[in-house]
Symmetry: C2
Subunit: 457 residues, 2 copies
């Protein structure tokens, strides 16, 4: 159990009557996450993650890591510094390089602060003895910092210069097996996004600077989203307008001809690509076929912006004043608020709180309980703050009783109830069981999750 | 359980009769970790961590994280990019900057690829409303990449341009409480290094570019170590020669006057500093005292080079041809080798292996078992390789039997035995229990660990 008094949690105090202006480039999630002490802006477009945010990001990275392992992904780490010469070979330094951070070491050798690692991972495979066809499919991923010299960083963690990505690279023997890999990863992505319980839309995407032949994006829908999507309400066709060419302005679905086409804005949180031999050919990454002859590896890449996903989930779920979290990402499951110092209920409340904490053993993980021990503050003030933070369960122990048994106040997202201790434990236990079930979902076969149906591209 | 056939593990094939030259700047750990497919050199001084190495580093990071939490450490993340202006304020850009990676963004603003984060964390505390004396001591740490433009990167992960560090920053109200913090962290460090079971020496150190008033280093002793230490065999006094000034050449212990002073070489794997107000004063990071007046925070910093520690542990423990690991860092605890394809024992061996794997449930964590299913290779070849990899337990299931019960070969670090299945399980279970005990050591109170006694500075 954590105690708030021991937690480094630099909440920004906003004066009560402050006029809240809508500042351009500042989104709801950014405002709430900054004011509520999750992140601190370090410099224009870079952020420091405070302990609360670190907890949430670690949970998200854990979910993603497990999901990648479930489809045979093996974790590696590649350096942040990639020699530019590798990027010259792939041709990606020939285009617009204004978004790349480039630097030289003391020997005047140039490096790029990697925004992605196709060249690095392909170069690595090219530098070892060619792998055998028996080792395919091969799926390597990493979770770590990426860099982009954004002209206009905005929306906090949603578009920052430094961000945490999961990037998986797949290697197959031919287009057919690469497509099998693509389908397996798509199933894994769908399952992950369902676990997160934030409505998402999956759209056909342009392959852009990555190259390749097939690509989808996963979007969370939000007004602050920077991508324009079209979405058919009849057949669930959905696409990024970038890909639709002349149908751009049309209100007719190109798939089912329905006139029910809607335009929505999305935040891209995941991306999948079949890359074919775009990188393996110029960088000469091969495998050995049965006949002993080398052949170029057929690649794919699969990204999830971990830090962006956390912020985007909050952007979608929260209200103007209160953070709301996906069940599996809440910073704590349960916040306990005790009686105010010096109140006449203080002593009895303290005893009930002690007993309550003991009886949480086995009902709720110790790691998920936060005690708001700032008893110099009123219950009301702490409760309001806890609601802003979006803890899914808040228990107020004021020392009230109905004469025979003590009564606790239990605040859930959509309900508040006065209950006895055993009832509170029962609700918490139910919550924990549901969360565990959600956590262990392996396949995408919708296990009666209460989520919006995902569209297909 | 992992299967080797599914593991990306790019072992370098060294011809049997290859003349092994001692190349300058290449150490034993580097040679073994590269040849045995743990790391791939990416560029001079940067490395790619393959899945085997990632496992080990994750284990090490987990131990360090738990240890930091046990002394109230809270995990955060600070950007890799720190604005140079912060480093100008602290004065650290005035000296020799050849080891810093500096770069500019598109707006010509200069950043440093942080080699350490004193300026960043102090600047962050200066930028928020001053914290209260009630929130002290405050201990913030992160685990992530650091950068140094080394003139001569060498010894693989031991001195690389990009490396993984745990860096903890402490904040206290005055010198006395900062010293208490220092002592608590020292206890935590001692306990961690004892858990790792690699003999270490703790020495008084020079404060160097960090500044401050008190500093110790933790060293692993190795011939390839770049630090010269003196060590008294009578009283356990030990120091980095950098700190000893005129006694540099003396063979007399400055502490007990014994003539038993020895010179040894060490690899620095941990460092502790009291920094006083070296950073908090120029960067104006204060806290509020009881009387409401601000006072400069008294700081400390505490580093552990995670990637270096892993390599240095291997450097110390391994032989010229075989990796040896600290118990808590071995990539897998148990490697299982079955009969060769086409051998007459194949069928019966396969059944025994199946039964053995089932009975490991509850005896050894699934995550810690590696099955060498490359049955097209002889047992001998696989066994030799498993020994090189340093798995603490290797079980060979060849299908042999004494007529009544099947016999397994169990290879431990210092013993080989032919045992029945139940005996093998009993040994593995003992190993697991010892490991769990080692893992859960919280205080440094030496729980009969079989380790060399640590020296004091």
């Amino acid at each position: 159990m954590e105690r708030i008094s021991r937690l480094f949690w630099p909440v920004v105090v906003v004066p009560k009557n402050a006029v809240v202006k809508n500042v351009e480039g500042v989104s709801r999630s950014q405002k709430l996450l900054t004011e509520l002490g999750f992140v601190k802006p370090a410099h224009n477009g870079t952020y420091q993650l405070m302990p609360m945010a670190q907890r949430v990001l670690d949970k998200c990275a854990d979910l993603v890591r497990r999901r990648m392992r479930s489809v045979g992904g093996q974790q590696i780490s590649m350096p942040v510094l990639t020699p530019s010469e590798l990027w010259k070979k792939s041709g990606r330094l020939d285009g617009d390089i204004t978004e790349f951070f480039l630097l030289e070491d003391r020997h005047k050798k140039q490096f790029i602060l990697s925004p992605t690692h196709e060249e690095a991972v392909t170069g690595m495979l090219a530098s070892i003895a060619p792998i055998s066809h028996k080792q395919l499919p091969l799926r390597l991923f990493q979770i770590g910092p990426k860099f982009r010299d954004e002209l206009k960083p905005r929306f906090g963690l949603i578009r920052s210069k430094e961000f945490i990505m999961k990037d998986l690279y797949t290697f197959d023997r031919n287009a057919a097996t690469a497509l099998e890999t693509y389908n397996q990863l798509t199933v894994a992505y769908d399952a992950l996004f369902q676990q997160l319980e934030v409505p998402f839309v999956k759209v056909k995407a342009a392959t852009g600077m990555m190259g390749g032949s097939l690509s989808h994006e996963y979007h969370y829908l939000a007004n602050s989203g920077e991508d324009q999507l079209i979405k058919c309400n009849t057949c669930d066709y959905a696409a990024n307008v970038e890909t639709t060419g002349e149908t751009n302005d049309s209100k007719i679905c190109p798939f089912c001809n329905s006139p029910e086409v809607q335009r929505v804005r999305g935040i891209e949180v995941g991306h999948t690509f079949v890359l074919n031999d775009k990188y393996s050919r110029p960088l000469k990454a091969t495998f050995l076929q049965e006949n002993g002859k080398p052949e170029y590896l057929v690649m794919g890449c699969y990204g999830i912006g971990i830090s962006r996903l956390v912020a985007a989930a909050v952007e979608v779920l929260s209200t103007e004043r209160e953070l709301h979290w996906p069940t599996l990402l809440a910073p704590f499951d349960l916040c306990i608020i005790g009686a105010k110092q010096g109140s006449k209920e203080e002593k009895v409340a303290h005893e009930i709180e002690h007993q309550f904490c003991l009886s949480l053993n086995g009902v709720c993980s110790d790691e998920e309980v936060l005690i708001d021990d700032r008893n110099y503050l009123t219950i009301g003030k702490r409760l309001m703050e806890a609601k802003k933070m979006g803890y899914p369960m808040i228990v107020v122990i004021s020392g009230k009783s109905d004469g025979t048994a003590p009564k606790l106040e239990l605040h859930l997202k959509h309900a508040t109830m006065e209950v006895e201790l055993s009832e509170a434990l029962s609700v918490i236990s139910q919550y924990t069981r549901r969360k565990q079930k959600l956590y262990s979902i392996i396949s995408e076969s919708n296990q009666s999750l209460n989520i919006s149906k995902a569209s297909f591209g």
